[in-house]
């Protein structure tokens, strides 16, 4: 590598995409939503399904199938954000609600909690 190139790198090392992804994966939904506005590459990392799915319950598919809600989503980000705005009722007779909170980083809320029904994330 040429000396000039090394100097340039030293002054402003640019991270390869895989490293950027590694870093971004260690953030959380709120950071990912804001991070979308950083740059195209950063946005891609922030929208990765791999990241968002970690914030859903591991058996999300089985849970959703117990709900009468018809959810259409093309990414886990979309699903997560939808659930944080619109809690869904699962097992109608036992009144369990699935809810994701982007503000409090809760994975899901299983209890029937009327606060959850104030659908909009509560701003601290």
């Amino acid at each position: 590598m040429a000396e000039a190139e090394r100097k340039r790198l030293r002054s402003k090392p640019e991270l390869p995409e895989e490293c950027m992804r590694e870093i971004v994966s260690r953030l959380n939904p709120k950071e990912w939503c804001r991070g979308c506005a950083v740059s195209q590459k950063f946005r891609e990392a922030c929208e990765s399904d791999e990241n968002w799915v970690r914030f859903l319950p591991p058996d999300w598919l089985a849970i959703l199938s117990r709900s009468s809600a018809h959810l259409h989503f093309t990414s886990f980000k979309q699903l997560y954000l939808h659930l944080s705005d619109n809690p869904i009722l699962i097992d109608a007779n036992s009144m369990v609600i699935l809810f994701c909170s982007v503000m409090f980083l809760e994975i899901s809320c299983w209890l029937l909690d009327w606060l959850c029904l104030a659908s909009k994330p509560l701003l601290v």
Binding site: A37, V38, F42
Partner: protein, 182 residues
């Protein structure tokens, strides 16, 4: 006090491996340390397979993508990592506590700019534990920071189409609430 020859460092007898950085610095490291760098290990194994008969212990491994500054830091980190692991071989919890303590201290002496350099080096060397640690450190450095701060940190520029960024900021306005001052 005994002299040095009577109390040899227990690790001094292990094999040494020589690493040569892009700025032509030479580092002699213990095999155990060098083997944590998967890229080095791969090179070392390949060399050994190719020269079964050579029997020399003067392996010199060139690292054309790593400079001496980050390498020196990575070696120190690696040594400490191995030491903590060895000291707590039968107690994972203790090991984690020691490691966390060391990592906290470590970060006090590292500039944010250096972290990027360290990630690049750890990524090239495929040194997983260090890469994980530095990525966690950067993630916590940019956590709850403004978009502008993150751009500056990574040397990124906004490359959105006109109006696109504003739309994103509007859509996720709530995620911009309460971020730290730059």
């Amino acid at each position: 006090m005994s002299n040095q020859s009577e109390s040899p460092n227990p690790t001094s007898s292990s094999n040494k491996i020589t690493l040569k950085t892009s700025d032509n610095e030479v580092f002699e490291v213990e095999e155990a340390v060098a083997m944590k760098f998967c890229t080095v290990k791969q090179y070392f194994d390949d060399e050994n397979n190719n020269n079964v008969t050579s029997g020399t212990s003067t392996t010199l491994i060139p690292l054309p993508n790593v400079e001496s500054h980050p390498l020196a830091i990575l070696i120190t980190y690696c040594k400490k990592h191995l030491e903590i692991k060895a000291n707590n071989a039968d107690n994972k919890k203790e090991m984690e506590i020691d490691m966390e303590h060391y990592e906290r201290e470590f970060l006090k002496n590292v500039m944010p700019q250096e972290l990027t350099e360290l990630i690049l080096a750890a990524n090239y060397l495929n040194f997983k534990e260090a890469l994980d640690f530095f990525c966690r450190a950067v993630a916590s450095a940019i956590q709850n920071k403004s978009v502008e701060y993150v751009r500056k940190f990574f040397g990124l520029e906004s490359d959105f189409k006109p109006g696109e960024e504003e739309k994103l900021r509007e859509e996720f306005a709530w995620s911009f609430e309460g971020v730290d001052e730059d």
